[in-house]
């Protein structure tokens, strides 16, 4: 007992150093974990380009005087494997229209699900239908 009393400073120092090292390791691990989820941005970009494809088709029809929201997108573009580790991610495209005269405010919504988590982008463009 007597000898332990003399080592108090050493024990305290040891506890402090070990705690610091352990918390440092835990901090690094916690910071490293969210890095794996980041490529979600790539899917969002793919979805935005897909929405633009839909707009291009609607605009082309509108220039010839037909307003058609159901023009079909290239079926290959409705799935993607960008950073999905081999899983196919499917996009669902829905289009809504808010007309005023021959101007149509068209909203294209692209939705997808990754590991049970739903996500979407919404892009809006005003399209004039030639009369």
């Amino acid at each position: 007992m007597n000898s332990l009393k003399n080592q108090r400073g050493f024990m305290l120092l040891n506890v402090i150093i070990l705690t610091l090292i352990t918390s440092f390791a835990a901090m690094i691990l916690l910071n490293a974990a969210p890095r794996i989820k980041n490529p979600q941005a790539a899917i969002r970009l793919t979805a935005i380009h897909l929405a633009n494809e839909k707009f291009a088709l609607i605009e082309s029809k509108a220039a010839s005087g037909v307003f058609d929201l159901n023009c079909p997108i290239n079926s290959e573009d409705l799935t993607t494997e960008n950073f999905s580790e081999g899983n196919q991610i499917e996009f669902t495209v829905s289009t809504t229209d808010n007309p005023s005269g021959n101007l149509h405010r068209v909203t294209v919504k692209v939705e997808w699900t990754v590991e049970g988590r739903k996500d979407f982008v919404e892009v809006e463009r005003t399209i004039r239908v030639v009369e």
Binding site: S3, Q7, N14, F24, A25, A32, H49, A56, E76, E81
Partner: protein, 188 residues
């Protein structure tokens, strides 16, 4: 005499015997985590470069296409040429009207899927390559697919797939663009 001088020395030894393996274990763990973070960082940067390059080429292409007067795309090359016509009145007295055209070309250098293949962006008069993909410090990329299709009347559909040479990851994006002022549209 000896016993009195070194009383409690056994505790220091025991303490050291326990702490040293623990310290070695922690140090080893930290080194592993540190290496993992560097590795993840490297992959993340390479992925980011890849994503950015695909997006950059597509958005430039869409921007150029919107104002083009004519388009010629060759899938085999692959080569994409937009032409813009600029008409200049050179001499008011003679009434001579000169028309000069300006072209913007996207051309693949190095062959599809080959190491270091990149997309060059240039004006036709200049034969110097101006690569807009590849040669990035954070990750070399290659082009594995660059395809053009004619959709509706004046709609160009582009598919671009690129692969990172650092991670091997592929990213593919497709888009379409409507070209309101397009007068001639050829895809071979």
């Amino acid at each position: 005499m000896l016993n009195k001088k070194f009383s409690g020395g056994g505790f220091v030894f025991a303490e050291f015997a326990i702490a040293l393996p623990l310290l070695i274990l922690l140090g080893w763990g930290l080194a592993t985590v540190g290496m993992k973070i560097f590795y993840l960082g490297k992959i993340q940067l390479a992925d980011y470069v890849l994503e950015e390059e695909v997006h950059d080429v597509l958005s430039r292409l869409v921007y150029d296409a919107r104002a083009a007067k004519s388009l010629e795309a060759v899938n085999g090359a692959p080569l994409l040429t937009f032409t813009y016509r600029t008409i200049k009145e050179s001499n008011a007295i003679d009434g001579v009207i000169l028309s000069s055209s300006e072209e913007r070309v996207y051309v693949l250098a190095g062959g599809l899927g080959k190491e270091g293949s990149k997309i060059n962006y240039k004006r036709i008069e200049e034969y110097l390559g101006n690569p807009i993909t590849g040669d990035n410090y954070f990750g070399q990329t290659r082009v594995t697919q660059f395809e053009f299709k004619k959709f509706d009347d004046k709609v160009l559909h582009v598919t671009l797939e690129m692969q990172s040479e650092v991670t091997g990851h592929k990213i593919k994006m497709s888009t379409a663009v409507y070209m309101p002022g397009c007068e001639s549209f050829y895809v071979y």
